[in-house]
Subunit: 419 residues, 2 copies
């Protein structure tokens, strides 16, 4: 008898029919003898609907009340999934009068404790008392993903895709045997199938590769969830709620075995929503970069690809990229900074950029991957605006209009269509 945490994403609970299907899946797992805990996202489209309402009031809405607002999407899904499980269990004749098969729980009801960084909160701890008591009574806890509660009992949210992190954190806290991430694709692919028809599904992938893929825009899993799974060596199983085929298992590198060792590059990732910000005419001196990136960090803005250059003029130039979602907030922070302490600074922006990356654990033992990537892009007539590398990935910033073409030429060039 295993303890399984099952996480269902937005499309998996996107309609009443899908919700009823989730109810059957959960009860079937329980009938096979497993203990089941569910974590659910908001119905697809719901979070966007709420965000658009907020945006009509304020273009940069992140705040306490914004989290209060958008966390209601998961609450709706929890209510409906719980209702569907109880109704289905009753239909199957599994319930005596007064018994329940499932109980819905919000972040504060479980005790999912976070810090107070609204819209990007981090989980500090999870109280498992109530969950364990429900599990031991064979009641399925249905938990709202994406949300927690801060020390002042305000509702917080964990950032886009945060339900994955909720699921992994709960699985880790409960020492679950497995954490199944149900989504609308049947696993992790060598690249985004919408961008490249040659994309192939991977049976297994290491936490490290998955982290690079996740951070580079493969939206299958939130990166923090993979970090957390790696930390607790919790096996993840990314699979589709629309079919019963095996998905992709995300496991430790040492469990990958022979199969992957010959592979140099295991995936190509792409993220189209990038804005490059360039800060010119900065007076050189110690602490300038720290001042800038400190201010951005305090505003919880994730900065990527930083480049610093001192032209002949002696005035400093710093460039970096931010996701489009953080763009307006970053500009506001920088303008405050300019006013307060960097009066000479000029802020320039370039939108419509994409980041394409190749990822692979094998890469660290194989030289020449970088030069091959640059050559493949050059052959396709794509110019590279910025480059960054890590041990297991190489990323290039390009014009977003060329993203699809870049993914296709890299996927083919690294022979991922043969996997």
């Amino acid at each position: 008898m295993a303890l399984v945490v099952q996480k269902f994403g937005g499309t998996s609970v996107g309609s009443i029919e899908r919700i009823q299907h989730v109810a059957r899946l959960a009860l079937d797992s329980q009938a096979r003898g497993d203990d089941v805990v569910l974590v659910v996202s908001a119905m697809s489209g719901e979070t966007n609907r709420l965000v658009e309402l907020a945006m009509q009031i304020r273009p940069i809405p992140f705040s306490q009340e914004y989290d209060l607002l958008i966390s209601s999407g998961e609450q709706i899904a929890v209510g409906l999934v719980t209702l569907a499980i109880n109704t289905e269990a009753e239909r199957r004749g599994w319930l005596k009068k007064g018994e329940i098969a499932a109980k819905g729980l919000l972040g504060y009801q479980v005790g999912i404790f976070t810090d107070s960084i609204f819209s990007k909160a981090r989980i500090q701890g999870i109280d498992t008392t109530r969950l364990k008591s429900l599990i031991s009574s064979r009641v399925i806890p249905v938990i709202a993903g994406f949300q927690g509660v801060d020390p002042e009992s305000n509702i917080t949210t964990l950032g886009r895709g945060g339900s994955d992190t909720s699921a992994v954190a709960i699985a880790a806290a409960l020492k679950a045997d497995d954490c199944e991430i149900y989504t609308d694709v049947d696993g992790v692919y060598t690249t985004d199938p919408r961008l490249c028809s040659d994309a192939k599904k991977l049976d297994r992938i290491s936490y490290e590769e998955m982290m690079e893929l996740a951070s580079l825009g493969a939206k299958v899993l939130q990166i923090r969830s993979v970090e957390l799974a790696a930390k607790y060596r919790l096996p993840l199983h990314v699979r589709s709620s629309f079919s019963s085929v095996e998905g992709t298992r995300v496991v430790s590198q040492d469990l990958l075995g022979e199969q992957m060792e010959q592979v140099v590059v295991s995936g190509v990732a792409a993220d189209g929503a990038q804005v490059k910000m360039t800060l010119q005419n900065l007076t050189e001196g110690p602490g300038v970069a720290a001042k800038i990136f400190g201010a951005l960090s305090r505003a919880s803005i994730v900065v990527d690809v930083i480049i610093q250059d001192i032209p002949a003029s002696g005035m400093l130039t710093i460039s970096f990229t931010v996701g489009r979602v953080d763009h307006l907030k970053a500009r506001e922070v920088l303008e405050d900074l300019k006013e307060q302490s960097l009066p000479s600074m000029r802020i320039a922006e370039e939108g419509d950029l994409a980041k394409v990356s190749v990822v692979g654990v094998g890469m660290q033992h194989h030289p020449g991957v970088a030069s091959k990537m640059f050559q493949l892009l050059a052959d396709a007539g794509i110019s590279i605006k910025l480059i960054t590398t890590s041990e297991i990935k190489i990323s290039c910033l390009i014009a977003s209009g060329q993203m699809k073409q870049a993914v296709e030429c890299l996927h083919r060039g690294f022979e991922l269509h043969r996997m």
Copy 2:
């Protein structure tokens, strides 16, 4: 400086424009020197949308998870109203960096404690600590109406229109000077203006009359909110958020003064959603009625107009009406009862009924109101199926197709168009 609780109904927060208007109203009140506490309903249409989702899963959804689901409607409104107030206060230049003008609070965050009767919970107590601390810092608390929290920290809801009760309970707990109920009509009318174009707005009405009107289907205020206001002698001011004209003040009978004393009938109420249930072939004996109405009451079903009759056969017949919303649940309770202990009982139902009533404090000192009412209906060719009376109201059950005609003839017959 007064402490004012302002409650905004669904249409008053029905769009982003309306929400921004509410934000301005609240801040304007504060600018005039008042301390303001807001209680908000779900955006109009939102609760129905959620109920319809639940109904697709289960026709009689009332349960823990149902309350969890539908309480999210108020949560969305609270998030948006709070966001709008903070944005407007910032626009007006009233906030220093880091300050807030409003803080959104859900039932459990305030501490609105209820019993565990889901979908019809009653408030047991309200913790005012957090509210008082916000008020003393000149921060406007924006509270989710309609919801509370039970002793097991489950979310409960107070029944349709429950936000009125939330507002009055909060105003009573805070010993507020005034409780303003903002809605889409500009006050309480002698009858429903949609049913009778002669309807006149009342400047003042007593709690007692308002209670009868509320319980009879004038949907301006939830009856429990009026009961509660009467108990604490809290003045209510029913008014429109769409105009600045004075609305109707609901006050103690002794504060009404001369004006009302001459009026015998002050209003005509109508409620179209009634079902008559008739239980036939019951064996006579002590405790039959207690058994039936006890079971209905335990299921939190509100029963109206009870009639008991013993025909020549010696078998007992009991008839009563329930609101259409409780109809399916009532049938389920009765069928359970038949199976368990009343095997001979036959259950008959008649839908499509309406209740029309005349209400007036003056009525108790004026004989002849009942006979006049029956005559007016008879003259209009409307047959009466059941009659009930109290000290200040007389109700008749009629076919719902004749409801509008009945309201018009009673309104004119009692000369309410002259008020």
